[in-house]
Subunit: 293 residues, 4 copies
């Protein structure tokens, strides 16, 4: 049947030769693994929530407290961010070592596991003392030395898809991590750079079709991040519920105590209140397809 489709980009021999570790071995072979006691790839759909940037101790403490209360399993928050321009201002900055330190304080205080991004091999040791999952950002999806060095830590790794990357490229990145013997790999869809909707240009289109595409050929859990894809607060709810219905194994959401004054991308985070409400809606949709939040 497959041979009838002319434009197939991943062949059966690719699955054997290029992605032997990322490819599914047989029907219904899906990876399950636990991070801080929370299972990925199972019936439950973990939620990772928090700000784009760990701006200061107070805001990350408030956020951690609130999202945990609403049912999030992980606190997300960047201390290192690949910002598009080199200029920093009061409203546009990274908190780096300080941000990681604040995450460590909050993690202990609030007792919530943490996911944060690493974008430089020289930060691995330092950040790995705190983070429970390493996030590889879209812009570093094809930074192979970074993938390899992060893999060697044996920490769980979530690889965000580059917005210009095919599934082939993305699985190639996962294969680099698996190749080092690190089996705790998650893929995270966050929108592709195509602009047919009415907010456009440098922005993204959430590719939910890639969820069943991955499930067809790979055993890796798939997370979806609707915040970065939509880049627009009012659409986050609908895309989150759609992500769950599409079969996503996890959800990453941007939540901020004062969304409109977020240091980075203020059009996309949702408030504590919206997040709490959305968690309830997510639970219902998850239940309707036989899963749970």
């Amino acid at each position: 049947m497959d041979n009838k489709f002319p434009g197939k980009d991943i062949s059966d021999s690719d699955l054997k030769d290029k992605f032997p570790l990322a490819a599914k071995k047989f029907t219904n072979h899906y990876s399950k693994f636990k991070v801080c006691g929370i299972e990925f790839g199972g019936k439950k759909i973990p939620v990772m929530a928090g700000p784009n940037m760990v701006e200061n101790l107070s805001m990350i403490r408030k956020t951690a407290t609130s999202v945990k209360k609403s049912g999030a399993s992980f606190l997300r928050g960047g201390a290192y961010k690949p910002l598009t321009f080199p200029y920093r201002s009061k409203k546009y900055f990274e908190t780096r070592e300080e941000g990681v330190h604040w995450l460590s304080i909050v993690k202990k205080e609030i007792k919530i596991p943490v996911i944060t991004e690493i974008l430089d091999v020289r930060d691995i040791d330092h950040v790995c003392k705190v983070t429970d999952i390493i996030q590889i950002g879209s812009r570093n999806m094809q930074n192979y030395p970074l993938l390899t060095e992060c893999a060697k830590t044996m920490k769980p790794i979530m690889i965000k898809r580059h917005y210009g990357a095919s599934l082939r490229d993305w699985l190639g990145a996962a294969e680099y991590v698996l190749f080092e013997g690190n089996k705790k790999v998650m893929l995270c869809e966050r929108g592709v750079s195509v602009t047919h909707t009415h907010r456009s240009t440098s922005r993204f289109l959430l590719d939910l079709q890639v969820v069943p595409a991955i499930k067809e050929i790979s055993h890796l859990p798939v997370i979806v991040d609707p915040s970065h894809a939509t880049f627009w607060r009012p659409w986050v709810k609908d895309m989150t519920l759609a992500s769950i219905a599409s079969g996503a194994d996890g959800i990453m959401l941007e939540v901020h105590p004062d969304p409109e004054n977020s240091a980075v991308d203020p059009l996309q985070p949702i408030s504590f209140r919206s997040f709490s409400k959305l968690m309830n809606q997510m639970k219902k949709v998850a239940k309707s397809i036989g899963r749970k939040i």
Copy 2:
């Protein structure tokens, strides 16, 4: 807030000047209208199901009987199809007048309303004697004389989005119909021509983000057709459930008595049995978001 986003393709003045009829007048202004007693734009999500092509009387009769039993509100089926190449064969053809005739027989027998495509102004009279909704196919979305002439019949019209069209282009097409005083207009998303997934090239990516995008600026009901978008049977279920969760006001699905031997696009239709099962899943997801099938 809007002004902060540089790449916005539809401005506030566009809404007034270019889409005065398609644009929402105020918050929560959404069109509702009935076709053969079935409401569009309301709480209920009508399902349109059937084959890509009305191949013969027997197959369309079987399909109508089966999809009605499973809960479909409309029978879909093309007699006129914009086929990419001019060559017809035993396996690749249109049934034209005959197909429309078979639809008329089945419609009476099984008592199920019908939606079928018109692609030539010279066929309007003839097809409108049978069809309850006129389908404008993707490839004719910008065929403005066709839109105008179809609009004048005052039949309900469903406009499929061209796979290369922005929301701006698409709403322009809807405005042509509304301009003639025909208010029963539906939009139907069926995938855009972007190929980052692993089946690609001449194929499509389902844009569910466009559902909340439309709801933000327009009052028109949005239908989603996951069959044409995915072009791949195994992904139809997940994308259908995701469409409902995204806020779609209707679902169009390709269902065929013998999917693998469908005359056109045999990789995409689902069987009667799969459809029946999927209807049950759709009902659960619809219920979880406060709607129903």
Copy 3:
């Protein structure tokens, strides 16, 4: 060699079964044919120039005089235009029958052949009394009844590529014309809907790579229209010269007596003076690759 490339969208059997008439029969098989004494597909590269819209008799007369003097082989100008929205104003309109009439006057007076668009089968007879080449616009590339009826007139036909169409779709459209026994078919590239440059959203990217792609598999002449692709006057010159260097067999350009006040798309036409200067530059580039304007 071909088999090594996984994502090939047009197979060798497609060339035989789907495009038997559009496909090249053997190496260096390229169609040549004359329109009003001007050869397409040969060493010479005909230039078609004029306004997007035939706005009035005076402007089209001036334009015809000027572009002929500068060396254009054909006068282009639309009387029927597929406008994105149904609203007409002083600045945004079609001139329809009147426009065609003005073209007929100018054609005789200035003695320059004409190319104009047809977008409705009901206009074929009328427009064909005047036009020397029928233009099928991008938005009607997949309007197969229109292609078939236009083909039957045996007039030369130029098919503009839809901005979302693959080469496969486009050659399918050409095959419809060839299938009617009409061999005078030209393809015209005018930009695809992808927006990585800094003017974007509803706008286009000129695909010059498609020129050698067509030459690899088809014998049909390829025209390039840089005006619609760039949608931006300052880029037209560079893209025109690049089109010639890429191997284009013809150039279509928008030229207007008062570009900034053009009725449609005022950002793209160039002035008489710019056109005259560009013709000289085009001649030099054409000569450098062994062709001529």
Copy 4:
């Protein structure tokens, strides 16, 4: 005028605030600088030629000799390559330190300056002893620590555009280098990930429109690499000539002693003989637009 275009992704204030260093200061402000005595940004268009991978000493020596004789200004060749999958074989590998060593030998012997890629901050010292220009590959265009560390060496830097990157993203990368006080920055277009042509899926479309787009807002020289964009030997010639006609300030080409047996991407390199012939054609096209090779 600008304000009339709704989807403009780079605003005038962006030019001041986000790209103060990459933006043009006034009309006709273009950077010129010399590398090993060869000027970039001037009338002359330097050509960089060589294999994708420095496979062994013999092949790089032969290539350097041949491309220099044909008129290339720089030898290109990768020792470090971001390969999509972690598996190395006889036909798919990197030569790393050894490759850099071979480049150093050939550079002295043949007296030709060298450009090679760096993809890991830990390789900067080592590679900079040999290379005359640092190449930042597409996949590392947004690896900001790498950009910053490479910038600090004050070596000239050529930044290849990521195939999913907008001009905005790309200029952001250049700004990181300029921000460190390193003014010798070149941009290199090598195709965007859009697939409307007949070889597709994981492959690219050469965006020549971006050449005048860059010249409109930035003073940086623009190089074009048609080999990676087309990924297909037979199209390289036409796209190279088109690149020159579009206004490119430099050309990068893949040339290999035995193209069909190239270790990486064997479908794209051209032979010594084809390169020599192409150089003559390039000279003619360059001359026709008032430049030279």
